[in-house]
């Protein structure tokens, strides 16, 4: 019961935060609220039994992403978003259509936390029943992540690596010159 209550309350908090993020134009406040959003969703992950995901979301969403956004804000020195020049009707229509499609799509979706849903009846049981025996790892998420779907994780590491290189390419300091000329040449 309390699980459901937590679930519903946290979701409601999330919705409030999301709308506040749309409404508020002070970018600093937006980023702080984004931190809250991330923390809340991580809390929700805990309630929904996804401890590993919550762990990562807390460290990444509330930690790294927020700090990076703040750093960007410090660099761009732009703290107030301009008010939109005209009413954004087109985006509104696009969003409403997409949302309607999703609502249409979720009418037939298996009920929330239904243990008979196909998602729990096909591939996953093998992980739960055999995962520990086959990999010797009690944390099934780690077992699937590192072994059954280890290649995805290799891809994930590559994605992070790509981002690192990308940021270096874009913002990396010029090498082979002294910092003195750097100041003159950089704009």
């Amino acid at each position: 019961m309390i699980d459901n209550l937590l679930n519903i309350t946290l979701l409601a908090f999330l919705a409030i935060t999301a709308f506040a993020i749309i409404r508020i134009r002070n970018l600093f406040a937006v980023i702080m609220l984004f931190g809250i959003y991330s923390l809340l969703s991580a809390g929700l992950f805990v309630v929904l039994d996804a401890a590993d995901v919550a762990f990562t979301e807390a460290a990444v969403g509330a930690g790294i992403s927020t700090v990076l956004m703040l750093a960007t804000l410090a660099l761009t020195k732009n703290h107030e978003e301009k008010p939109p020049a005209h009413r954004p009707w087109l985006p509104m229509i696009v969003v409403l259509v997409t949302g309607a499609a999703l609502v249409y799509g979720t009418v037939d979706i298996p009920s929330f936390s239904d243990s008979e849903a196909p998602a729990h009846k096909h591939v996953a049981p093998r992980y739960i029943e055999e995962g520990f025996k086959e990999t010797g790892v009690p944390n099934l998420v780690t077992a699937v992540l590192a072994s059954y779907r280890g290649f995805d994780t290799l891809g994930e590491v590559t994605v992070i690596f790509t981002a690192g290189i990308g940021v270096l390419l874009l913002l990396g300091r010029r090498r082979g010159r002294k910092r003195g000329d750097e100041d003159n040449n950089e704009t």
Binding site: A101, Y104, P118, H122, S147, G150, G155
Partner: protein, 492 residues
């Protein structure tokens, strides 16, 4: 050992080479390594293609876990064909890249640049090989993130905004794809493509599956610049460094088309896709894409941008092929994927050679250069003819099949649109030819010489390939015919 691991090595070799390249000193060494890797991949791709040429299927279980529990690489002729295009284009682009990149990229970023290029190649090959929808998403992101970076390396500041725009739209597309994958997962419990194909028919009636399909089509559509979702493409191709434009134009959208084909035909199956009004939608978008993009191309003042719009139009043709929902139409689509890669790469290479010499591809800047750069100009003309679809060139073959497919369906309007598209192509190619050859050169460019050999040779290899595959259609059409059987799930 190599036989069993070929398809995997195709992905793992660039993956291993990328971090190595990233820590190499700047200079020509990173380029050399990238070149070696791309040629190696090309050889492996040819080998792999030979293995599945007869319609057989290679299955490789990553981690030794049998599908659907582990990730599977499942190579049939369609994958092998796409991998061949990607690896082949990389192999041709890299010799071309050397000088062009040295000119456009700061010296201290060369090794990182090539590392990113390798990651992009790796992502595209990974998409082509995998038989698992989520793995596909991961590699899609590798290729996307690296293309955002590559595009932002263009010299004009507009490259940054183009890259940002692409990043936003690309991420929206990828997230849509993710939503779609999540919805089909909730209905089937599986992520393996073959397994999904077996399990989905039981829930075809469910609205969740319809929505999932729509989201996947829109998501992939954003990536392949399907007509109303193409807004990122012209900017991205115009402002990216020349070598990057060549590589992306020849591969990225092609791989996205492949994903679309795979999703529509092998995951959801022909039966599903064509009970919903999907085929009509593809036809409609294809027609609009061809007409609007071709007209937009005519209005452009920048050669690269003009060709970029032409790419959107060509994607329209491919969509028409998919939309016909017939073996002939699909054959045309698959052949056109290959041919378009050849001709668009050749065209962008020729324009890139102009950029190499004068630093701009604006139509007023390149006036009269045709006389001073005859080989570049010749390549542009022949590849342009192929784009138009003149008999004797590769472009003719795909147009021919497309028109046949239209006639077979008695879709006269569409047949006319295809022909009209060719006429429009004549106009915009003529615009380039006129500027290059029939107008006097501006003063600044009077002393411009022919492009260096390392730019010309790859360009002409592609030009000759355009002619060769226009005369000898055996390889492409045969491969396409078998590929269509695989796509339509017709047992051999």
């Amino acid at each position: 050992m190599i036989e069993t691991h070929t398809s995997l090595l195709l992905v793992v070799i660039p993956l291993l080479a990328a971090p190595v390249t990233a820590i190499l000193p700047n200079g020509r060494l990173p380029w050399l390594l990238t070149l070696a890797v791309s040629w190696l991949c090309f050889v492996l791709a040819i080998w792999q293609f030979m293995q599945v040429m007869d319609g057989s299927v290679i299955s490789y279980e990553l981690g030794g876990w049998e599908p659907p529990w582990g990730i599977e690489y499942r190579i049939d002729i369609v994958n092998a064909f796409v991998a061949l295009i990607v690896a082949g284009m990389a192999a041709v682009t890299l010799p071309y890249a050397l000088l062009s990149v040295e000119q456009e990229i700061p010296k201290d970023r060369i090794s990182l640049f090539y590392a990113t290029l390798l990651l992009c190649l790796d992502g595209l090959l990974g998409i082509a090989m995998t038989g698992d929808v989520f793995n596909l998403f991961v590699f899609l992101e590798i290729s996307s993130l690296s293309s955002y970076t590559l595009i932002s390396m263009g010299r004009q500041r507009k490259a940054l905004t183009a890259s940002y725009q692409y990043l936003i739209m690309g991420t929206i597309g990828a997230t849509f794809l993710l939503i779609g994958i999540g919805l089909i997962y909730s209905e089937t419990g599986s992520l393996n493509m073959v397994d999904l194909n077996n399990r989905l028919p039981a829930v075809f009636e469910h609205r969740t599956v319809h929505t999932a399909f729509a989201f996947i089509v829109v998501g992939v559509g954003l990536k392949l610049a399907m007509f109303p979702l193409h807004l990122w493409l012209p900017n991205a191709y115009t402002y990216a460094p020349s070598a990057v434009t060549v590589f992306l134009a020849a591969t990225a959208t092609k791989v996205a088309v492949y994903v679309m084909l795979r999703m529509v035909f092998n995951v959801f199956s022909t039966g599903f896709a064509y009970v919903t009004p999907t085929d009509d939608m593809f036809l409609l978008l294809g027609v609009f894409g061809v007409v609007f993009a071709s007209i937009s191309a005519i209005g452009q003042k920048d050669a690269k941008r003009l060709l970029a719009y032409s790419s959107v139009a060509q994607i329209g043709y491919i969509l028409l092929g998919i939309g016909f929902a017939s073996a002939l139409g699909l054959t045309a689509a698959v052949v056109h994927i290959f041919n378009h890669a050849l001709m668009k790469a050749a065209l962008f290479m020729a324009v890139g050679a102009l950029v190499y010499r004068i630093g701009s591809s604006h139509i007023t800047q390149i006036r009269g250069l045709g006389r001073q750069m005859p080989w570049t100009f010749g390549a542009l003309v022949i590849a342009g003819l192929s784009l138009i679809g003149v008999p004797g060139t590769a472009g003719f073959i795909s147009k021919w099949y497309l028109v046949l497919a239209a006639i077979e369906q008695q879709a006269w309007v569409i047949a006319i649109v295809i022909l009209a598209g060719s006429l429009l192509a004549v106009i915009y190619i003529w615009k380039l030819v006129e500027a290059l050859f029939f107008q006097p050169a501006i003063d600044d460019t009077k002393s411009v010489r022919e492009a260096p050999l390392s730019l010309l040779v790859p360009t002409w290899i592609l030009v000759l390939a355009n002619i060769y595959f226009g005369l000898n259609t055996e390889l492409t059409v045969n491969a396409a015919t078998i590929a269509v059987q695989v796509l339509e799930n017709i047992p051999q």
